[in-house]
Symmetry: C2
């Protein structure tokens, strides 16, 4: 079976096991969907492989966006700089109520286009009309962990359970395994404990994980504590949410010492969304304390309505800078640790084995950056240049599941012109609907 | 005299006086170095002007980077994630000691190349071998306010005064007025009051301003307070630094209520450098309090060794997000206010009249962005898209002083390939010097 050979590149494998160095010059051989070998002078060994010239280029694993709501690109820049409840109740929710299936499809196409162009090769999503999201994932060639968002009270609570099961039945493992599914109970304040217990039982029946918003705002902590006598993470622990199954918890901003221990001990996957938490003024998550305790922490952008882009390079930089100043310590979250959060760390958070590094046998999800840029010159430390100076437009080529999905900044699997046209037209209709 | 006409663009003038709207569709006419007219259907009125098609484009004033050390691009990514004093004393200062005149020239060329490509049309610089910096400014076509950095004690204190005067004599007003000069006493902790008083007298003789680092770190405040019995801004006020002359104060992170009042009352130009302050863990400047009191606040990147790029779009976004979370209030520093800091607000901070907006009679320093990008779609609010979603690679064309300096991302006044080659070669030599 013929493969791809990236030759003479600067390789940042994000794989601690194989080598002592964080970067080295070499080649990457890809066969089928997998990384076959990483080393020097591989061309003789794989003479039939198609060669991609890696001169003046950096190769690294693709980014893993651990929490987003892809189709919310349709609300990018629609409501900003507003108090949280005004933003949600007067702006976002009324417009979301008007989103139809086709809007979700085109909004997700737009999000995936943006994500591939900024180096995201896997994303975790929670929203509605998720068949449309899954269809867009299937067509585009990206990898995703998808959850149908569920609200556990009111008219749609039962429907949400049924549709989630149906969604998982239909989509789990589709796209040669690129699509995985989770249950998506929205949050402790929208899903009462009894409902969450039903979700947990279903998740175990179907052998999938649970994606939930957790401890995002001060208000949430106050509300849950008042209602239940426990803080949100404590409450989830008390009903056994974290025992014996994979949980992806988005945000985890407001945590007690005890809750940090709970999350770390149970290896809960934490999706840290620094830009969204800053823009909505939710707060600063205790990331360095979580990492010190050995918690699994990845990075996410959250939806484009609270970010307002889906750019993981930017999210890495913001993450590193924010936690340094929050701790008043410039050694906190060094470049390598943030890169790990955005790659292998994110894979662990999503419960995905075999993605997130350039180790042999991993899925071939990788990025080729052009290093010949003013803002990447001189090149002393590729990790620092990636985290503190790089831009997504420095990215030339994206490979997912062994296939080239972007080449010279053209996404080969998507119709960029059509997507921009549809998103703009549907967006303008959406915000003017009565 | 023939001119330029940008036709059918989305215009963001950052000029409160002429129109009620923050953006509108229209044309911009440029004659010589000035903005001649902003309005609709101007082509008939200026039939001889060269037309630039503004379809699907956004036009706005160029960014003003209020504080940097341009040639420190030579130390980009050389030292990161270190304690402040280790970073300075063991890494940065020993390498700076090896920088020669040609390094400064090529390092500044690299910085200007990066700045033009990310939309900066004016920058304020303080460093050494400033003739080289000025030469690079002259050749590149950018606008700059330049200061020879001065340390007011030790062997070079007198030389710094002499060379500063010589520098100002030589360069003030050069490049058809694109170059302006200031005195650059480094900081209160490196320049004793008696020395600063001599600088003040010289600044008044030469009719120029003073560029100084002020209240950057907790250590500085502690040191000055112990030595002088006053906090840094109080000390500067007590010697009359702010009276009757223009002062550009970089950082202003650690301020008492009284010091905020002093800075606001005296209309001191404050260069806020959020990314540098975050990366070095210096602290969070009280920007919303300063703005509330009517202080003049602009944005800067600081040098590339503590940022690590010179990207004002990124700096705007970080600024807006940082202060929202610091205040736990998402309404703090809305997009328009941050855009103002990066344009007209910055001009006031540098004491430059006639730059920073698209008002008639202003210097024609402006940017043309391509709006047909996934991360800028849909387009509901151009100000939000600029601050929260745009990237410098969205910028197509840069005009400074009425001349096109970048077209389709090619900087016409600079040799990009040569600059990258020289900077890389000199950088690798620099970090290996004994």
């Amino acid at each position: 079976m013929a493969g791809l050979l990236i030759k003479n590149a600067l390789i940042v494998p994000m794989d601690d096991c194989s080598r002592a160095e964080d970067w080295f010059k070499g080649d990457v051989a890809i066969e089928g969907s997998l990384i076959k070998e990483v080393g020097e002078s591989l061309q003789e060994k794989y003479p039939s492989f198609t060669v991609l010239n890696g001169q003046d280029s950096l190769v690294m694993p693709g980014f893993i966006n651990c929490h987003t709501h892809a189709a919310m690109t349709m609300l990018r820049g629609y409501a900003d700089d507003l108090p949280l409840m005004t933003w949600l109740e007067e702006m976002i929710w009324p417009r979301e109520a008007h989103l139809d299936r086709e809007d979700i499809y085109w909004g997700t196409q737009l999000a995936i286009l943006e994500m591939i162009k900024s180096g995201t090769t896997t994303f975790a999503d929670m929203y509605f009309y998720m068949d449309e999201t899954a269809q867009a994932v299937l067509e585009s060639g990206i990898r995703a962990s998808l959850s149908r968002g569920m609200v556990g009270s009111g008219a749609t609570a039962e429907l949400a359970l049924e549709e989630s099961v149906e969604f998982i039945q239909t989509w789990q493992g589709q796209g040669e395994g690129r699509i995985t599914c989770m249950f998506g109970p929205h949050a402790p304040y929208t899903c009462p404990p009894a409902y969450l217990e039903r979700v947990m039982a279903l998740a175990d029946d179907w052998g999938v994980g649970i994606h939930i918003h957790l401890a995002e705002t001060v208000d949430e902590v106050a509300k849950i504590t008042k209602q239940e006598g426990l803080r949100p993470v404590e409450l989830m622990d008390s009903i056994g949410l974290f025992q014996g199954r994979h949980v992806l918890a988005a945000h985890c901003v407001h945590l007690s010492e005890k809750e940090i221990e709970i999350l770390a001990k149970n290896k809960v996957g934490i999706a840290h969304n620094p830009e969204s938490n800053m823009k909505l003024a939710s707060g600063i998550a205790p990331i360095s304390q979580l990492l010190e305790k050995g918690a699994f922490v990845g990075l996410g952008t959250d939806g484009a309505a609270s970010n307002n882009n889906l750019d993981m390079l930017e999210e890495m930089r913001t993450c590193a800078l924010l936690h340094k100043v929050a701790a008043m310590d410039p050694t906190v979250l060094p470049a390598k640790q943030v890169l790990r959060m955005a790659t292998k760390g994110g894979a662990k958070v999503l419960g995905l084995e075999h993605v997130g590094s350039l180790a042999v046998g991993e899925k071939a999800d990788l990025l080729i950056f052009d290093l010949k840029k003013p803002h990447l010159t001189p090149l002393y430390n590729p990790l620092a240049n990636l985290v503190y100076a790089a831009q997504s437009s420095d990215l030339k080529t994206v490979i997912i599941d062994g296939k080239i999905v972007m080449q010279e900044r053209q996404v080969l699997t998507m119709d960029e012109e059509r997507i921009l046209f549809e998103a703009e037209k549907r967006g303008q209709d959406l915000i003017h609907k009565k």
